[in-house]
């Protein structure tokens, strides 16, 4: 087991280095000059040079790469040229918002996906199954940005039930940070009004974000349920006269959950990527919005930082899933 974990760890490091290199190369083919932008419209050439020197952009590409890798090893992802602040500091500031959004979206996905996957499997090929199928494919097919806009317009602008955008009302101070997740912090601090406000703000973006993931949870759950329902022990249980409801919820669901959990893990990293769109629509101050804003200014250190962070989360989750499988299935360890 130790050897297995060790091997995976080496792989983990290798993947991160590869990711870093690829991203660095990609973001450096840019023809644009962010220094010029930040120096201001009327800046003279030597003013631009001042900024280029300050951000190390005057060095050759290999040198910049060496500096960057060195920095990453020390936990330094460079500085954003737009905000002048270290990227790490900004990621720490924006990540909790994204994390909270993804958590709630994931919760919604599970809450809707699992029961409907179950229903769909139990009533296979019925109208419920077809409707669920179209619904779940819709989840993947709906352009998140467009669907978000529609929901925003209907629920926020037209009905005025929910706020248009943001995490809290203007004047409401965020709860004293513990986890920096407003929903949790406000509960822990006993600020229930703040909690309600935060909940109202998160519901629409989380719903939009959850849709595609809901779809895959639903499908995997359905497939696994089908398989389990046809297995010998369920048939046996049925023959023994155990009520159908109990069979489905207790015996079958339990066994169908493991692959579902795996897909949830995989989808988590994917969701972090989709926040790019959802956060743009809902002005959600997370890393997705940060990446888009920076990309539009050709400010690449933040873009690089965000992609690395998402990639890191993704690889890390895969690593955990790998370990979990290795632990559950000893045959994999020797492979």
């Amino acid at each position: 087991m130790v050897l297995f974990v060790g091997k995976r760890l080496v792989l983990f490091g290798f993947m991160l280095l590869g990711l870093l290199t690829i991203m660095f190369l990609i973001t450096n083919v840019a023809p644009g000059d962010p220094a010029k932008l930040m120096a201001g419209q009327n800046a003279t050439q030597d003013m631009v040079e001042t900024i280029r020197r300050e951000y190390g952009l005057d060095k050759s590409l290999p040198e910049q790469y060496a500096v960057y890798i060195g920095g990453v090893l020390r936990g330094d992802l460079g500085r954003s040229i737009v905000s002048t602040k270290p990227v790490v500091e900004e990621l720490l500031r924006y990540f909790p918002a994204t994390f909270e959004l993804v958590l709630v979206a994931m919760g919604l996905g599970i809450l809707i996906g699992v029961p409907f996957g179950m229903l769909s499997a139990v009533y296979r090929d019925s109208w419920i199954d077809h409707a669920t199928r179209i619904f779940s494919v819709s989840g993947v097919a709906l352009p998140a940005f467009w669907f978000g806009l529609l929901l925003q317009l209907y629920f926020a602008v037209h009905l005025e039930w929910l706020p248009v955008s943001g995490r809290l009302e203007l004047i409401t101070p965020p709860p004293e940070p513990l986890t920096r997740l407003y929903l949790i912090d406000s509960l822990l601090r006993g600020e229930f009004d703040t909690f309600r406000e935060a909940f109202q703000h998160i519901i629409l973006p989380a719903l939009v974000l959850s849709f595609p993931c809901l779809a895959s949870i639903l499908r995997v759950n359905r497939a696994e349920m089908l398989e389990v329902l046809q297995s010998d022990y369920i048939v046996a249980a049925r023959a023994n006269g155990i009520p159908a409801f109990r069979i489905i919820t207790v015996y079958a669901l339990k066994n169908a959950m493991l692959p579902t959990l795996a897909i949830i893990g995989l989808r988590f990293g994917w969701m972090l990527g989709s926040t790019v769109l959802v956060e743009t629509v809902f002005d959600w101050p997370g890393i997705g919005l940060y990446a888009v804003q920076s990309a539009l200014y050709s400010d690449f250190k933040p873009v690089l930082g965000v992609t690395l962070l998402i990639g890191f989360c993704f690889i890390f989750i895969n690593f955990l899933i790998d370990l979990a499988y290795g632990w559950l299935d000893p045959r994999l360890r020797t492979q």
Binding site: G40, S83, R93, L162, L170
Partner: protein, 527 residues
């Protein structure tokens, strides 16, 4: 069962969702004004960077020796109560007011002024370009605690026009927060050391910035101490649709950046006022006059005569005026140049026949900043207009930095680039210099225009002290530039804001940037 509880909980949370009714934010019995803007304020250091949102904050947190006010913009005494210059415009002496105080109680004295200018010049960022060619840090002289003298390297009449943009920082506070000789840059990024009417409070990047009024602002409040707001919240609202919704629901008291159609539509809404004022931001389609087909002046003229100028105004739903010379109408020294082209297809074809491409058959690039709606639409108008000359237009959106990088050299500058230019001061030199050979490499000089006569005239005009001597030179400069057609002279759009009718004290001044508002005189007149 658990699920039902959860759903019930969710329903309860939603149904009790009594959203705040249209009312203003308050602190105590004073109101807080909410400004909805699209652009963030990453840096507030007055000597490091400026754009409209940044400068709106800087103007609120800091004072300068003078301030632009009114329409047309005039320079008013502020931290300096009066100033005088030598006849050759080489030595300038400023006399400071005696009662000005920084927020921490330190007096604003001549040393603070000297330090602030030195800091601006040494950092060589942001505002430095305005004065670096004429002023050396050693040329700033503290005469006494309330008098400071600037000894310029050469005669420079427009010197005073830059003074309002050089804000005064408190040297003691800055020095106390210096890290590795950075002149306090790190600290001043999100902190202020000024004497302005407001102080910083909440600073949540990408979300909102909150200012609180300085209780005993040395200059007092124009709306009266009783009416002054408790503070200002600058809230980032990126989408025009969301901005409009926020204004309609009273969540924001004033917004910038709606679409022209939104302004037209919201104008008639009860309780909402639209401010629409001719600014000084000119729109031009710059030709590359050095390389490519547009090097040919006849082709440039042909294009200029083929353009439907009225649609430039229509793109803004009428809220714009056409340029009548390279200088905006609000600029000192502006003259109408009657020879400027108007749409005339016959003339366009005449010029085209004289050019190297008598039958058209060429394709020209038109670059605009990605995301700038109006510039994109003008590209489409151009595409439509030039199809009559059998010229194809390739409308290309590009990110600003990439576009600037391309446009900085004659070899890479696109055939046509649409550029908005806002002059930073009211002195005509600010506009004229865009057409000087020395401006090559700057974004507003993408046409790489070079006319020896014009260069000489500009050089001469900036050294003359008397306006009567300068004015005729600028008239001639404008005529000469129009004759060479380095760009299609476009329009000057109106600057627009929409605000609730209870928001009072709004004062427009054309020298401010596109969305920038002077927050100091604003107040809310309602119970």
């Amino acid at each position: 069962m658990k699920k039902i509880v959860m759903l019930g909980l969710a329903a309860a949370l939603l149904s009790t969702a009594a959203l705040p009714a249209a009312a203003f934010e308050r602190v105590g019995d004073r109101k807080v004004i909410v400004f909805g803007g699209r652009q963030q304020v990453p840096v507030i250091d007055p000597h490091v960077r400026y754009d409209w949102s940044i400068r709106m904050m800087q103007q609120s947190l800091y004072d300068a020796m003078a301030k632009y006010n009114g329409n047309p913009a005039k320079i008013e005494p502020w931290l300096a109560q009066k100033w005088e210059s030598s006849p050759d415009a080489k030595t300038w002496t400023f006399h400071l007011v005696k009662n000005a105080k920084f927020h921490n109680g330190d007096p604003v004295d001549a040393e603070a002024v000297r330090y602030s200018f030195e800091r601006g010049l040494k950092l060589n960022k942001g505002v430095a370009w305005m004065l670096k060619d004429v002023l050396d840090p050693s040329g700033i002289e503290v005469v006494d605690a309330h008098t400071v003298r600037f000894n310029l390297k050469s005669s420079y009449a427009p010197f005073i026009s830059w003074i309002p943009w050089w804000y005064i920082v408190n040297p003691k506070q800055v020095k106390a927060n210096e890290v590795d000789g950075d002149y306090g840059q790190k600290w001043l990024t999100e902190n202020a050391a000024g004497s302005g009417p407001f102080k910083t409070k909440r600073w949540e990047q990408n979300v909102l910035y909150e200012l609180v009024a300085a209780d005993d602002y040395w200059k007092g409040w124009p709306q009266g101490e009783k009416n002054r707001p408790a503070g200002i919240i600058y809230k980032i609202i990126r989408e025009p649709a969301a901005q409009k919704a926020a204004l309609q629901r009273g969540e924001a008291d004033i917004v910038e950046g709606l679409t022209p159609d939104d302004y037209d539509q919201i104008k008639s809404t009860k309780g909402i006022v639209v401010q629409s004022h001719a600014g000084m931001t000119t729109f031009g389609i710059k030709f590359n006059t050095q390389t490519g087909p547009t090097k040919d002046i006849n082709l440039r003229k042909a294009i200029a005569y083929a353009v439907d100028y009225d649609s430039f105004v229509k793109v803004y739903n009428g809220a714009a005026i056409l340029e009548t010379s390279p200088f905006p109408q609000g600029m000192q020294g502006h003259v109408d140049v009657p020879e400027r082209p108007k749409q005339d297809l016959a003339k366009a074809k005449e010029y085209l026949a004289k050019s190297a491409y008598p039958n058209g058959g060429i394709e020209l690039d038109y670059y605009h900043v990605a995301g700038l709606e109006e510039a994109r639409r003008i590209g489409l108008v151009l595409l439509d207009n030039l199809s009559k000359l059998n010229i194809k237009v390739n409308v290309t959106p590009e990110q600003w930095p990439n576009m600037v990088a391309k446009g900085s050299k004659p070899d890479t500058a696109p055939n046509m680039t649409s550029v908005y230019v806002t002059p930073i001061s009211t002195d005509p030199d600010a506009v004229a210099y865009q057409y000087h050979r020395n401006a090559w490499g700057q974004y507003f000089a993408m046409s790489h225009y070079d006319n020896a006569d014009v260069n000489a005239l500009i050089d001469k005009a900036r050294t003359l002290g008397k306006w009567e001597e300068r004015a005729p030179l600028y008239a001639e400069i404008q005529k000469k530039i129009v004759a060479d057609q380095p760009e299609v002279f476009g329009m000057i759009q109106n600057r627009r804001w929409a605000h609730r009718d209870y928001l009072k004290g709004f004062a427009f001044s054309p020298v401010r940037f596109t969305g920038e508002v002077d927050l100091y005189p604003l107040w809310i007149d309602a119970k």
